[in-house]
Protein backbone atom coordinates (compact mmCIF):
# COMPACT_ATOMS: atom_id res chain seq x y z
CA UNK A 1 0.00 0.00 0.00
CA UNK A 2 1.58 3.25 -1.00
CA UNK A 3 -0.93 5.71 0.46
CA UNK A 4 0.28 7.05 3.79
CA UNK A 5 -3.25 6.89 5.17
CA UNK A 6 -3.70 3.14 4.69
CA UNK A 7 -3.11 2.28 8.35
CA UNK A 8 -5.67 4.92 9.33
CA UNK A 9 -8.18 3.34 6.96
CA UNK A 10 -7.51 -0.01 8.59
CA UNK A 11 -7.97 1.49 12.08
CA UNK A 12 -11.25 2.99 10.89
CA UNK A 13 -12.50 -0.42 9.71
CA UNK A 14 -11.32 -2.04 12.96
CA UNK A 15 -13.36 0.45 14.98
CA UNK A 16 -10.28 2.07 16.47
CA UNK A 17 -10.80 5.58 15.11
CA UNK A 18 -12.54 8.16 17.30
CA UNK A 19 -15.16 10.56 15.91
CA UNK A 20 -12.62 13.16 14.78
CA UNK A 21 -10.36 10.61 13.07
CA UNK A 22 -13.37 8.91 11.47
CA UNK A 23 -14.54 12.14 9.93
CA UNK A 24 -11.06 12.78 8.56
CA UNK A 25 -10.84 9.32 7.06
CA UNK A 26 -14.28 9.49 5.49
CA UNK A 27 -13.15 12.73 3.91
CA UNK A 28 -9.97 11.09 2.66
CA UNK A 29 -11.86 8.11 1.24
CA UNK A 30 -13.81 10.46 -1.03
CA UNK A 31 -10.57 11.69 -2.57
CA UNK A 32 -8.36 8.58 -2.66
CA UNK A 33 -9.31 5.72 -4.98
CA UNK A 34 -6.58 3.46 -3.60
CA UNK A 35 -7.92 3.77 -0.04
CA UNK A 36 -11.50 3.31 -1.24
CA UNK A 37 -10.44 -0.03 -2.71
CA UNK A 38 -8.56 -0.95 0.48
CA UNK A 39 -11.59 -0.01 2.55
CA UNK A 40 -13.84 -2.26 0.50
CA UNK A 41 -11.39 -5.14 0.59
CA UNK A 42 -10.97 -4.91 4.35
CA UNK A 43 -14.73 -5.06 4.83
CA UNK A 44 -15.00 -8.01 2.45
CA UNK A 45 -12.18 -9.87 4.16
CA UNK A 46 -13.73 -9.20 7.54
CA UNK A 47 -17.11 -10.62 6.59
CA UNK A 48 -15.56 -13.57 4.72
CA UNK A 49 -13.52 -14.52 7.79
CA UNK A 50 -16.53 -14.13 10.06
CA UNK A 51 -18.57 -16.29 7.73
CA UNK A 52 -16.07 -18.97 6.80
CA UNK A 53 -13.79 -19.58 9.75
CA UNK A 54 -15.09 -22.23 12.15
CA UNK A 55 -16.26 -20.92 15.50
CA UNK A 56 -14.90 -23.76 17.59
CA UNK A 57 -16.02 -24.46 21.14
CA UNK A 58 -14.20 -26.34 23.87
CA UNK A 59 -15.06 -30.06 23.69
CA UNK A 60 -17.04 -31.23 26.74
CA UNK A 61 -14.41 -33.85 27.53
CA UNK A 62 -11.62 -31.29 27.67
CA UNK A 63 -13.74 -28.96 29.78
CA UNK A 64 -14.45 -31.81 32.21
CA UNK A 65 -10.79 -32.68 32.39
CA UNK A 66 -9.82 -29.09 33.12
CA UNK A 67 -12.40 -28.91 35.92
CA UNK A 68 -10.95 -32.10 37.32
CA UNK A 69 -7.43 -30.68 37.21
CA UNK A 70 -8.66 -27.65 39.13
CA UNK A 71 -10.29 -29.93 41.72
CA UNK A 72 -7.04 -31.77 42.20
CA UNK A 73 -5.16 -28.49 42.42
CA UNK A 74 -7.51 -27.44 45.21
CA UNK A 75 -6.96 -30.73 46.96
CA UNK A 76 -3.19 -30.24 46.90
CA UNK A 77 -3.61 -26.88 48.56
CA UNK A 78 -5.71 -28.36 51.38
CA UNK A 79 -4.28 -30.34 54.26
CA UNK A 80 -4.86 -34.05 53.56
CA UNK A 81 -7.99 -35.45 55.14
CA UNK A 82 -7.84 -38.72 57.04
CA UNK A 83 -9.35 -41.72 55.33
CA UNK A 84 -11.65 -43.81 57.51
CA UNK A 85 -9.44 -46.03 59.61
CA UNK A 86 -9.88 -49.65 60.46
CA UNK A 87 -11.18 -48.65 63.90
CA UNK A 88 -13.80 -46.43 62.40
CA UNK A 89 -15.00 -49.30 60.27
CA UNK A 90 -14.90 -51.69 63.19
CA UNK A 91 -16.98 -49.47 65.42
CA UNK A 92 -19.37 -48.96 62.52
CA UNK A 93 -19.83 -52.71 62.19
CA UNK A 94 -20.22 -53.16 65.93
CA UNK A 95 -22.96 -50.56 65.78
CA UNK A 96 -24.52 -52.38 62.88
CA UNK A 97 -24.41 -55.65 64.82
CA UNK A 98 -26.19 -54.11 67.76
CA UNK A 99 -29.21 -53.30 65.63
CA UNK A 100 -28.75 -49.58 65.85
CA UNK A 101 -27.11 -49.91 62.47
CA UNK A 102 -30.42 -50.51 60.78
CA UNK A 103 -31.73 -47.20 62.07
CA UNK A 104 -28.48 -45.53 61.08
CA UNK A 105 -28.73 -47.04 57.63
CA UNK A 106 -32.32 -45.88 57.30
CA UNK A 107 -31.30 -42.40 58.40
CA UNK A 108 -28.44 -42.46 55.91
CA UNK A 109 -30.84 -43.47 53.15
CA UNK A 110 -33.24 -40.68 54.08
CA UNK A 111 -30.29 -38.31 53.98
CA UNK A 112 -29.40 -39.54 50.53
CA UNK A 113 -32.92 -38.94 49.31
CA UNK A 114 -33.34 -35.55 50.93
CA UNK A 115 -30.09 -33.86 50.01
CA UNK A 116 -30.28 -32.13 46.65
CA UNK A 117 -27.60 -33.61 44.38
CA UNK A 118 -26.86 -30.52 42.31
CA UNK A 119 -23.77 -29.30 44.15
CA UNK A 120 -22.33 -32.73 44.75
CA UNK A 121 -18.59 -32.70 44.16
CA UNK A 122 -18.51 -36.48 44.14
CA UNK A 123 -20.64 -36.40 40.98
CA UNK A 124 -18.07 -34.12 39.37
CA UNK A 125 -15.28 -36.43 40.45
CA UNK A 126 -17.07 -39.50 39.11
CA UNK A 127 -17.83 -37.84 35.81
CA UNK A 128 -14.28 -36.56 35.48
CA UNK A 129 -12.88 -40.00 36.25
CA UNK A 130 -15.22 -41.64 33.74
CA UNK A 131 -14.45 -39.18 30.95
CA UNK A 132 -10.76 -39.36 31.69
CA UNK A 133 -10.80 -43.14 31.51
CA UNK A 134 -12.29 -42.97 28.03
CA UNK A 135 -9.85 -40.34 26.80
CA UNK A 136 -6.57 -41.55 28.13
CA UNK A 137 -5.14 -45.00 27.80
CA UNK A 138 -5.94 -45.46 31.47
CA UNK A 139 -9.21 -47.35 31.08
CA UNK A 140 -8.01 -50.62 32.49
CA UNK A 141 -5.16 -51.50 34.86
CA UNK A 142 -5.89 -55.20 34.86
CA UNK A 143 -7.33 -56.69 31.72
CA UNK A 144 -9.30 -59.79 32.46
CA UNK A 145 -12.68 -61.27 31.88
CA UNK A 146 -12.22 -63.59 34.83
CA UNK A 147 -13.67 -62.35 38.11
CA UNK A 148 -11.34 -64.64 40.03
CA UNK A 149 -8.44 -62.64 38.62
CA UNK A 150 -9.94 -59.18 38.92
CA UNK A 151 -11.34 -59.37 42.44
CA UNK A 152 -8.10 -60.48 44.18
CA UNK A 153 -6.17 -57.84 42.22
CA UNK A 154 -8.15 -55.10 43.94
CA UNK A 155 -7.07 -56.39 47.34
CA UNK A 156 -3.53 -55.18 46.80
CA UNK A 157 -4.38 -51.98 44.97
CA UNK A 158 -7.40 -50.31 46.52
CA UNK A 159 -8.91 -49.63 49.92
CA UNK A 160 -12.07 -51.61 49.20
CA UNK A 161 -13.13 -54.95 47.78
CA UNK A 162 -15.88 -54.46 45.22
CA UNK A 163 -18.34 -57.01 43.84
CA UNK A 164 -16.96 -58.41 40.63
CA UNK A 165 -18.91 -60.69 38.35
CA UNK A 166 -19.18 -61.34 34.67
CA UNK A 167 -22.62 -60.89 33.17
CA UNK A 168 -21.70 -61.74 29.61
CA UNK A 169 -24.79 -63.92 29.27
CA UNK A 170 -26.90 -60.87 30.06
CA UNK A 171 -24.90 -58.68 27.67
CA UNK A 172 -22.63 -57.03 30.23
CA UNK A 173 -19.12 -58.27 29.65
CA UNK A 174 -16.47 -57.89 32.34
CA UNK A 175 -13.38 -56.38 30.72
CA UNK A 176 -11.16 -55.44 33.64
CA UNK A 177 -10.42 -53.32 36.66
CA UNK A 178 -8.77 -50.03 37.49
CA UNK A 179 -7.85 -47.82 40.42
CA UNK A 180 -9.03 -44.21 40.53
CA UNK A 181 -8.46 -41.62 43.20
CA UNK A 182 -11.90 -40.58 44.40
CA UNK A 183 -13.21 -38.99 47.57
CA UNK A 184 -9.65 -38.93 48.95
CA UNK A 185 -9.17 -42.66 48.67
CA UNK A 186 -8.21 -45.36 46.20
CA UNK A 187 -11.51 -46.39 44.69
CA UNK A 188 -12.00 -49.67 42.83
CA UNK A 189 -13.37 -49.40 39.32
CA UNK A 190 -14.79 -52.46 37.60
CA UNK A 191 -15.08 -51.94 33.86
CA UNK A 192 -17.89 -53.58 31.90
CA UNK A 193 -18.79 -53.38 28.27
CA UNK A 194 -22.34 -53.35 27.04
CA UNK A 195 -22.52 -53.20 23.24
CA UNK A 196 -20.53 -50.13 22.27
CA UNK A 197 -20.87 -48.60 25.74
CA UNK A 198 -18.25 -48.69 28.46
CA UNK A 199 -19.71 -48.83 31.96
CA UNK A 200 -17.41 -47.86 34.82
CA UNK A 201 -18.61 -49.12 38.20
CA UNK A 202 -16.90 -47.23 41.03
CA UNK A 203 -16.75 -48.55 44.58
CA UNK A 204 -15.31 -46.65 47.52
CA UNK A 205 -15.62 -46.59 51.31
CA UNK A 206 -18.60 -44.58 52.50
CA UNK A 207 -17.43 -41.41 54.22
CA UNK A 208 -20.87 -40.13 55.09
CA UNK A 209 -21.09 -38.08 51.93
CA UNK A 210 -24.49 -37.62 50.41
CA UNK A 211 -24.94 -39.45 47.15
CA UNK A 212 -27.65 -38.79 44.58
CA UNK A 213 -29.49 -41.94 43.45
CA UNK A 214 -29.47 -41.00 39.81
CA UNK A 215 -28.14 -37.99 37.99
CA UNK A 216 -27.42 -37.02 34.40
CA UNK A 217 -24.45 -34.78 33.77
CA UNK A 218 -23.03 -33.77 30.38
CA UNK A 219 -25.05 -36.54 28.76
CA UNK A 220 -23.62 -39.25 31.00
CA UNK A 221 -25.87 -41.18 33.37
CA UNK A 222 -24.79 -41.91 36.93
CA UNK A 223 -26.64 -44.47 39.04
CA UNK A 224 -25.42 -44.65 42.64
CA UNK A 225 -26.26 -46.88 45.57
CA UNK A 226 -24.95 -47.68 49.01
CA UNK A 227 -24.29 -51.26 50.06
CA UNK A 228 -23.16 -51.77 53.62
CA UNK A 229 -20.25 -49.41 54.20
CA UNK A 230 -19.51 -49.07 50.51
CA UNK A 231 -20.64 -46.43 48.07
CA UNK A 232 -21.14 -47.52 44.48
CA UNK A 233 -21.78 -45.68 41.27
CA UNK A 234 -22.21 -46.93 37.71
CA UNK A 235 -21.35 -44.31 35.07
CA UNK A 236 -21.96 -44.63 31.36
CA UNK A 237 -23.37 -43.08 28.24
CA UNK A 238 -25.64 -46.13 27.92
CA UNK A 239 -29.39 -45.57 28.35
CA UNK A 240 -31.08 -45.51 31.76
CA UNK A 241 -32.73 -48.92 31.28
CA UNK A 242 -29.41 -50.54 30.42
CA UNK A 243 -27.66 -48.87 33.33
CA UNK A 244 -30.35 -49.84 35.83
CA UNK A 245 -30.17 -53.42 34.60
CA UNK A 246 -26.40 -53.34 35.20
CA UNK A 247 -26.97 -52.09 38.77
CA UNK A 248 -29.62 -54.73 39.39
CA UNK A 249 -27.25 -57.49 38.23
CA UNK A 250 -24.40 -56.24 40.45
CA UNK A 251 -26.66 -55.92 43.47
CA UNK A 252 -27.87 -59.48 42.86
CA UNK A 253 -24.31 -60.80 42.59
CA UNK A 254 -23.27 -58.85 45.66
CA UNK A 255 -26.13 -60.38 47.68
CA UNK A 256 -24.92 -63.82 46.59
CA UNK A 257 -21.36 -63.01 47.66
CA UNK A 258 -22.55 -62.01 51.12
CA UNK A 259 -24.24 -65.35 51.71
Amino acid sequence: MSCAESLQVQAYVDGEADAMASAAIEQHLENCAECRLLHRELLELHSALRRELPYTQTPATLRAQIMRTLDQEKRLAEPPRRTPSFWHLRSYWMGAASGLGAAAAAAALAFVLLVPPVTSTVVDELLGAHVNSLMSSHLIDIVSTDRHTVKPWFAGHTDVSPSVADFEAQGYKLVGGRVDYLEHQRAAVVVYQHGAHVINVFTWADNRQSLPATVTRNGYHLACWKAGDLDNCAVSDAGWDELHEMVRLIQGASALEQR
Binding site: L49, E52, Y55, T58, T69, E73
Partner: protein, 181 residues
Protein backbone atom coordinates in the same frame (compact mmCIF):
# COMPACT_ATOMS: atom_id res chain seq x y z
CA UNK B 1 -17.16 -24.73 46.28
CA UNK B 2 -14.81 -22.28 47.95
CA UNK B 3 -14.73 -18.53 47.28
CA UNK B 4 -11.57 -18.63 45.27
CA UNK B 5 -12.86 -21.31 42.92
CA UNK B 6 -16.14 -19.40 42.59
CA UNK B 7 -14.25 -16.26 41.69
CA UNK B 8 -12.23 -18.14 39.08
CA UNK B 9 -15.37 -19.59 37.53
CA UNK B 10 -16.96 -16.15 37.32
CA UNK B 11 -13.93 -14.19 36.19
CA UNK B 12 -11.85 -16.54 34.01
CA UNK B 13 -13.86 -19.59 33.01
CA UNK B 14 -16.20 -17.64 30.66
CA UNK B 15 -13.14 -17.17 28.40
CA UNK B 16 -12.31 -20.86 28.15
CA UNK B 17 -13.79 -21.08 24.64
CA UNK B 18 -11.72 -18.10 23.53
CA UNK B 19 -8.62 -19.71 25.00
CA UNK B 20 -9.39 -22.99 23.25
CA UNK B 21 -10.04 -21.36 19.86
CA UNK B 22 -6.87 -19.30 20.08
CA UNK B 23 -4.87 -22.39 21.03
CA UNK B 24 -6.31 -24.31 18.09
CA UNK B 25 -5.15 -21.58 15.71
CA UNK B 26 -1.70 -21.45 17.27
CA UNK B 27 -1.00 -25.13 17.78
CA UNK B 28 -0.06 -27.58 15.06
CA UNK B 29 -2.35 -30.35 16.26
CA UNK B 30 -5.61 -30.59 18.24
CA UNK B 31 -3.75 -32.64 20.86
CA UNK B 32 -1.14 -30.02 21.51
CA UNK B 33 -3.91 -27.38 21.63
CA UNK B 34 -5.65 -29.46 24.32
CA UNK B 35 -2.45 -29.73 26.34
CA UNK B 36 -1.77 -26.06 25.92
CA UNK B 37 -5.24 -25.01 27.13
CA UNK B 38 -5.11 -27.37 30.10
CA UNK B 39 -1.73 -26.05 31.12
CA UNK B 40 -2.89 -22.47 30.62
CA UNK B 41 -6.03 -22.93 32.74
CA UNK B 42 -3.97 -24.45 35.53
CA UNK B 43 -1.43 -21.62 35.40
CA UNK B 44 -4.30 -19.13 35.35
CA UNK B 45 -5.87 -20.79 38.36
CA UNK B 46 -2.63 -20.59 40.29
CA UNK B 47 -2.02 -16.94 39.58
CA UNK B 48 -5.29 -15.15 38.99
CA UNK B 49 -5.24 -13.61 42.47
CA UNK B 50 -2.93 -10.98 41.05
CA UNK B 51 -5.49 -10.01 38.42
CA UNK B 52 -7.13 -6.74 39.43
CA UNK B 53 -9.87 -5.38 37.25
CA UNK B 54 -7.74 -5.60 34.12
CA UNK B 55 -8.90 -7.36 31.00
CA UNK B 56 -9.29 -11.02 31.99
CA UNK B 57 -9.64 -12.21 28.40
CA UNK B 58 -6.37 -10.60 27.25
CA UNK B 59 -4.70 -11.92 30.39
CA UNK B 60 -5.85 -15.50 29.76
CA UNK B 61 -4.93 -15.42 26.06
CA UNK B 62 -1.46 -14.14 27.02
CA UNK B 63 -1.01 -17.24 29.17
CA UNK B 64 -2.23 -19.48 26.33
CA UNK B 65 0.29 -17.88 24.01
CA UNK B 66 3.10 -18.37 26.52
CA UNK B 67 2.16 -22.01 27.01
CA UNK B 68 2.13 -22.46 23.28
CA UNK B 69 5.61 -21.01 22.79
CA UNK B 70 6.98 -23.16 25.61
CA UNK B 71 5.47 -26.29 24.06
CA UNK B 72 6.68 -25.30 20.63
CA UNK B 73 10.26 -24.78 21.77
CA UNK B 74 10.16 -28.16 23.49
CA UNK B 75 8.77 -29.86 20.38
CA UNK B 76 11.31 -28.18 18.12
CA UNK B 77 14.14 -29.42 20.29
CA UNK B 78 12.75 -32.92 20.21
CA UNK B 79 11.75 -33.26 16.57
CA UNK B 80 14.32 -33.44 13.82
CA UNK B 81 11.71 -34.21 11.20
CA UNK B 82 9.22 -31.40 10.52
CA UNK B 83 5.61 -32.29 11.16
CA UNK B 84 3.60 -32.80 7.99
CA UNK B 85 1.28 -29.95 8.98
CA UNK B 86 4.20 -27.58 8.89
CA UNK B 87 4.53 -27.81 5.16
CA UNK B 88 3.05 -24.82 3.52
CA UNK B 89 -0.22 -26.14 2.05
CA UNK B 90 0.29 -23.74 -0.83
CA UNK B 91 3.31 -25.67 -2.02
CA UNK B 92 1.48 -28.92 -2.42
CA UNK B 93 -2.05 -27.88 -3.16
CA UNK B 94 -1.94 -24.66 -5.12
CA UNK B 95 -2.06 -26.57 -8.38
CA UNK B 96 -4.86 -28.91 -7.43
CA UNK B 97 -8.13 -27.60 -8.73
CA UNK B 98 -11.22 -27.82 -6.60
CA UNK B 99 -13.62 -30.20 -8.29
CA UNK B 100 -15.91 -28.28 -10.59
CA UNK B 101 -19.34 -28.36 -9.03
CA UNK B 102 -22.36 -26.41 -10.21
CA UNK B 103 -23.87 -26.18 -6.76
CA UNK B 104 -23.25 -22.91 -4.99
CA UNK B 105 -23.21 -24.49 -1.57
CA UNK B 106 -20.32 -26.76 -2.49
CA UNK B 107 -18.34 -23.93 -3.98
CA UNK B 108 -18.96 -21.98 -0.82
CA UNK B 109 -17.71 -24.95 1.22
CA UNK B 110 -14.57 -25.15 -0.88
CA UNK B 111 -14.05 -21.46 -0.32
CA UNK B 112 -14.44 -21.83 3.40
CA UNK B 113 -11.92 -24.62 3.53
CA UNK B 114 -9.55 -22.68 1.33
CA UNK B 115 -9.76 -19.55 3.44
CA UNK B 116 -9.29 -21.56 6.62
CA UNK B 117 -6.29 -23.29 5.08
CA UNK B 118 -4.79 -20.01 3.91
CA UNK B 119 -5.13 -18.46 7.35
CA UNK B 120 -3.61 -21.56 8.92
CA UNK B 121 -0.68 -21.31 6.50
CA UNK B 122 0.15 -17.70 7.42
CA UNK B 123 3.38 -17.20 9.35
CA UNK B 124 2.62 -17.36 13.05
CA UNK B 125 3.32 -13.69 13.78
CA UNK B 126 0.74 -12.71 11.17
CA UNK B 127 -1.73 -15.45 12.02
CA UNK B 128 -1.96 -14.61 15.68
CA UNK B 129 -2.74 -10.90 15.23
CA UNK B 130 -5.27 -11.68 12.51
CA UNK B 131 -7.06 -14.27 14.65
CA UNK B 132 -7.07 -12.04 17.72
CA UNK B 133 -8.62 -9.24 15.66
CA UNK B 134 -11.02 -11.08 13.36
CA UNK B 135 -12.04 -14.13 15.40
CA UNK B 136 -11.50 -13.06 18.99
CA UNK B 137 -12.69 -9.53 18.26
CA UNK B 138 -9.98 -7.90 20.35
CA UNK B 139 -9.03 -4.24 20.07
CA UNK B 140 -5.50 -3.10 19.25
CA UNK B 141 -4.64 -2.55 22.89
CA UNK B 142 -5.69 -6.09 23.81
CA UNK B 143 -3.70 -7.56 20.93
CA UNK B 144 -0.66 -5.50 21.98
CA UNK B 145 -0.96 -6.99 25.48
CA UNK B 146 -1.33 -10.60 24.34
CA UNK B 147 1.44 -10.53 21.75
CA UNK B 148 3.59 -8.14 23.80
CA UNK B 149 4.31 -5.67 21.03
CA UNK B 150 3.70 -1.88 20.70
CA UNK B 151 0.42 -0.58 19.26
CA UNK B 152 2.15 0.61 16.10
CA UNK B 153 3.49 -2.88 15.47
CA UNK B 154 -0.01 -4.32 15.92
CA UNK B 155 -1.23 -2.03 13.15
CA UNK B 156 1.58 -2.73 10.72
CA UNK B 157 1.52 -6.47 11.36
CA UNK B 158 -2.25 -6.62 10.85
CA UNK B 159 -1.88 -4.73 7.57
CA UNK B 160 0.84 -7.14 6.36
CA UNK B 161 -1.16 -10.17 7.48
CA UNK B 162 -4.19 -9.01 5.54
CA UNK B 163 -2.19 -8.09 2.48
CA UNK B 164 -0.48 -11.50 2.44
CA UNK B 165 -3.78 -13.32 2.93
CA UNK B 166 -5.30 -11.37 0.04
CA UNK B 167 -2.31 -12.09 -2.20
CA UNK B 168 -2.45 -15.82 -1.49
CA UNK B 169 -6.20 -15.89 -1.91
CA UNK B 170 -5.88 -14.33 -5.36
CA UNK B 171 -3.11 -16.77 -6.30
CA UNK B 172 -5.33 -19.61 -5.21
CA UNK B 173 -8.33 -18.40 -7.19
CA UNK B 174 -6.27 -17.71 -10.32
CA UNK B 175 -4.40 -21.01 -10.02
CA UNK B 176 -7.63 -22.92 -9.69
CA UNK B 177 -9.21 -21.07 -12.62
CA UNK B 178 -6.27 -21.77 -14.94
CA UNK B 179 -6.30 -25.48 -14.15
CA UNK B 180 -10.04 -25.74 -14.74
CA UNK B 181 -9.65 -24.03 -18.08
Amino acid sequence: MDDRRQRFETLILPYLDDAYRFARWLARSPESADDCVQEAMLRAYRSFDGLRGSDAKAWLLTIVRNCHSTTQKREQRRAQVPLPEEQDPLDSQALIAPEPNPENASIRQDEARTLERLVAALPEEYREVLILREVEDMDYRGIATVVNIPLGTVMSRLARARALLKKRWLQQVEGAASVVR
